[in-house]
């Protein structure tokens, strides 16, 4: 199926809004779960969008903009996964791999913006010094506006402009290659989880990871709620234990201190 001009423009408009949202991290409509769903809706295939949303969301679970870093772009990944699946008839799992070049390219565009937006700071300082707050507000919002248009243009070109090229490319793939992409789509969440573990996992947390893993392997339930409840309970237990531990440590230190103090006075006398 093809993407019509109207669909291309409406996806670009949505990318503009989601782009602002990702820039500000406001409502999280920039996450693949929402991006895929909306893109699917705009293409007239809501179900495809939702299914792709679940898949892409997990693949990007660990790719987070923590501490001012930039992950591969979740908006472009979401849009292109749905668009490629829709136009070529491949499964979302295959499409997610093909969407990655777009996602990584957008990541580098944002990184480039982070650098060049430093040029606005000098002007911003001047406006504050002169007390021109309205102008200050405009220059501070300038990066947001530029980013928004970058998303609209980039997504329009990717979705509408490159579609015939994309289709030829994808349809000429041999079976083992598209099957390889499908497999990669299924393994990709491991990268995200690996990244999450990089920032969280310490040796003392490995038992909890194994508990969660084992629970999920053997509790047959439609979603992850049981594991989340087990995790919350463990967290609760640990929170209480640590608080008691801190309290005891503090009391212990106080006693130690008072002993030392009284000892000192005794010596003085």
């Amino acid at each position: 199926m093809t993407v019509t001009l109207v669909q291309g423009i409406s996806i670009a408009l949505f990318a503009l809004i989601a782009g602002i949202d990702f820039w500000l991290e406001g409502f999280y409509i920039f996450r693949p779960m929402i991006v895929c769903t909306v893109t699917g809706f705009l293409l007239g295939d809501l179900r495809l969008g939702i299914i792709a949303g679940g898949l892409t969301e997990l693949a990007f679970a660990g790719l987070t903009p923590v501490g001012g870093t930039q992950p591969p772009n979740p908006i472009m990944a979401g849009i292109m996964t749905v668009v490629i699946a829709h136009t070529t008839g491949h499964s979302p799992a295959t499409a997610i791999g093909l969407s990655l070049p777009f996602s990584i390219l957008m990541q580098y565009i944002i990184l480039f913006f982070y650098s060049i937006f430093s040029v606005f700071t000098k002007k911003a300082d001047e406006f504050i010094a002169k007390g021109e707050f309205r102008k200050f507000g405009m220059i501070v919002l300038m990066p947001t506006v530029i980013v928004a248009f970058a998303y609209a243009i980039f997504s329009f070109l990717s979705v509408y402009g490159a579609q015939s090229l994309m289709r030829t490319l994808v349809n000429s793939m041999p079976g083992w290659l598209s099957h390889g992409f499908t497999i990669a789509g299924g393994i990709l969440p491991a990268v995200g989880f690996g990244l999450l573990l990089k920032s969280m996992l310490k040796t003392k947390y490995v038992p909890y990871l194994l508990l969660g893993f084992t629970a999920a392997c053997f509790i047959k339930f439609g979603n992850l709620m049981p594991v989340a409840i087990i995790g919350a309970s463990l967290a609760w237990i640990e929170y209480g234990r640590k608080q008691r531990e801190n309290k005891i440590n503090k009391q212990f230190k106080d006693i130690e201190k008072s002993l030392q103090n009284s000892g000192g006075e005794d010596d003085g006398i």
Partner: protein, 270 residues
């Protein structure tokens, strides 16, 4: 000159703090590598500071200049610090006290904010809603949207907390942050364990032909008998090891995963 420092400042109303919480949305509007969120942070602070300083325009400009310094914090922690900042300005605290508190707190508070929002809430919400979404149910994206809309609204009580709690409570939060981060990590790691088992899919399709009529499936009769999902767990740990110990770039790992998948697909193993 000392006199001007002692002029009493205007009080902010509850509505002003609510507005501050909502305006914290703009914290990242002017993001750049030079001073990260500073410009957007200051933009969000302007209405509150304007009211606090009233006629004292020079005081206002000095305060805004002081706010325009490097800051990089978690976006849900920002309203907490903004509320605290507003209460300190209102109480006419020393300029250097206000600034050094902000600088001292934004890092640790960001750490605990990231641990809760990105590393605990997101994997849980993503994991649960994805299971709905993969069956094509609108509940997936709907629940996801509702949770994060509520998270946005939470900026308001967070700003109020920062404003009314004052320095004493914030330092208490700072003290407790290690415990909260610990509890969040316990929850996060448990859920990630579950996510690995549920969503990483590696199935070996190779079969060993023992006799013409009898074949052994490596996946079903070997790996699944050792432990289900042992391959996803192993591969995730392999990636973790590359990320942590070898400092490999995530994009490299994505490419590696693709190359491996395509190679193994070509060989007929996966």
């Amino acid at each position: 000159m000392m006199e001007s420092n002692k002029t009493t400042r205007n009080k902010l109303s509850k509505k002003d703090i609510t507005k501050l919480g909502l305006l914290s949305l703009f914290n990242q509007s002017g993001m750049n590598y030079q001073r990260m969120q500073a410009d957007g942070w200051t933009l969000a602070m302007i209405p509150s500071l304007k009211k606090i300083y009233g006629e004292d325009k020079n005081g206002l400009i000095d305060a805004l200049k002081a706010n325009l310094q490097f800051i990089n914090t978690n976006n849900y922690a920002a309203p907490l610090l903004m509320g605290l900042g507003a209460s300190l300005e209102e109480n006419n605290e020393n300029r250097s006290t206000i600034d050094s508190l902000r600088v001292a707190l934004f890092g640790p508070i960001a750490g605990i904010g990231d641990a809760i929002t990105w590393f605990t809430i997101l994997p849980i919400v993503a994991g649960i809603t994805a299971s709905f979404a993969q069956q094509g149910s609108i509940l997936g994206p709907l629940v996801f949207f509702i949770v994060y809309f509520a998270m946005f609204l939470a900026r308001i009580p967070i700003a109020h907390l920062g404003y009314s709690a004052g320095t004493h409570a914030i330092s208490k939060i700072h003290e407790n942050s290690a415990i909260v981060a610990h509890a969040a990590s316990v929850l996060g790691c448990t859920v990630i364990g579950g996510l690995i088992a549920t969503y990483v899919q590696i199935d070996v399709v190779t079969k060993i032909h023992v006799t013409a009529s009898h074949t052994i499936s490596i996946q079903k009769q070997f790996f699944d008998n050792i432990f289900p999902n042992i391959l996803p767990l192993g591969y995730t740990f392999f990636l973790y090891w590359l990320l942590k110990k070898k400092n490999v770039n995530p994009v490299t790992l994505i490419v590696l995963t693709f190359l491996l998948s395509i190679l193994l697909s070509w060989m007929g193993i996966l």
